[in-house]
């Protein structure tokens, strides 16, 4: 039962026991999936329109999906931290933000490197690109707010509220190519009539995307463990000083 699993993992000791084996297992799965995705990606034929730049898609789309997924995780952890005052949820939110910011930055940079040969521009103020930039700024804002407030409980609450405001941006990112005329490619992987992408590109993209998800999961667990230890060390230091 997912609910039972969630409540079990809300116990920090159980979380530490679980994450001790889950983090390396996910990391190993990520390495295998990404290696397979890269192999298929570099054995696929050139696209008839985009040529070899189509290979940027495997890392660009995966990074973009991960930037959004990580923000949904950040929003979820922030919600539980804010509503239930659960320290493990606060730790998970704090651990998630740098990872999400890195994936979003990768999506922006690789997108720019794909856009230049295809559109003739490194950047356009298109709805999709702009909303992803806003997503990146929400990550930076979250981390800046965490760093700016000395009282950690207040910092967790304030940054959780900010992250929940930013959740509004997720559907805007997703549907920006539908709601507005966009230079960016529209939906092509998940459409009502199935995927519009040829299987020879869909398979490496799928493997890379699942590999990125496993990598994010692994690193999120590693960083949340670090955050738990940091909070334990801080509590011990305060107790020793007081």
């Amino acid at each position: 039962m997912p609910g039972d699993m969630f409540s079990a993992l809300a116990n920090p000791q159980r979380f530490m026991s679980f994450s001790r084996w889950a983090a390396p297992a996910l990391g190993a799965a990520a390495a295998v999936l990404m290696a397979a995705g890269l192999y298929l990606g570099f054995t696929a034929p050139e696209d008839y329109q985009q040529g070899d730049t189509v290979r940027i898609m495997f890392i660009h789309v995966s990074a973009a999906w991960m930037g959004m997924f990580a923000y949904a995780c950040l929003g979820g952890a922030s919600f539980f931290g804010l509503v239930f005052r659960h320290s493990l949820a606060d730790a998970a939110a704090r651990a998630c933000a740098p990872l999400g910011a890195a994936f979003t930055a990768l999506a922006l940079v690789t997108g720019s490197l794909w856009g230049r040969p295809m559109w003739g521009a490194w950047w356009v103020w298109d709805a999709r690109l702009t909303s992803v930039l806003v997503l990146f700024l929400f990550y930076l804002g979250y981390m800046a707010l965490q760093a700016a407030i000395e009282d950690e409980a207040k910092a967790d609450r304030a940054s959780a509220i900010l992250s929940l405001v930013g959740v509004v941006n997720l559907p805007i990112v997703h549907w920006s190519v539908v709601w507005w005329n966009s230079l960016h490619q529209g939906e092509s992987v998940f459409t009502r009539s199935g995927s519009l992408m040829a299987p020879v590109y869909l398979w490496p993209l799928g493997l890379m995307a699942v590999g990125y998800t496993c990598l994010f999961g692994s690193l999120w667990l590693v960083r949340t463990r670090a955050e738990v230890w940091r909070r334990r060390a801080r509590a011990a230091a305060i107790k020793a000083a007081g």
Binding site: M16, P45, V109, L113, L219, V222, R225, A226, W229, R232
Partner: protein
């Protein structure tokens, strides 16, 4: 057969893969280093083994 000849698009494809590799490896290295550092610090201050 691996196709590593990106032709006229090499100046865009390889930098995209390079920046991705550097970022992902950096994320792994920084996360592991952070975890090891705070585990050691918690063990030092709490005086015991922090495993699991």
């Amino acid at each position: 057969m691996l196709d590593l000849d990106m032709g006229k698009y090499a100046a865009f494809v390889w930098p995209a893969y390079a920046v991705t590799a550097v970022t992902l490896i950096g994320m792994v290295a920084l996360s592991l280093r952070r975890s090891a550092r705070w585990r050691r610090e918690a063990e030092r201050l709490r005086g015991g083994d922090e495993r699991p």
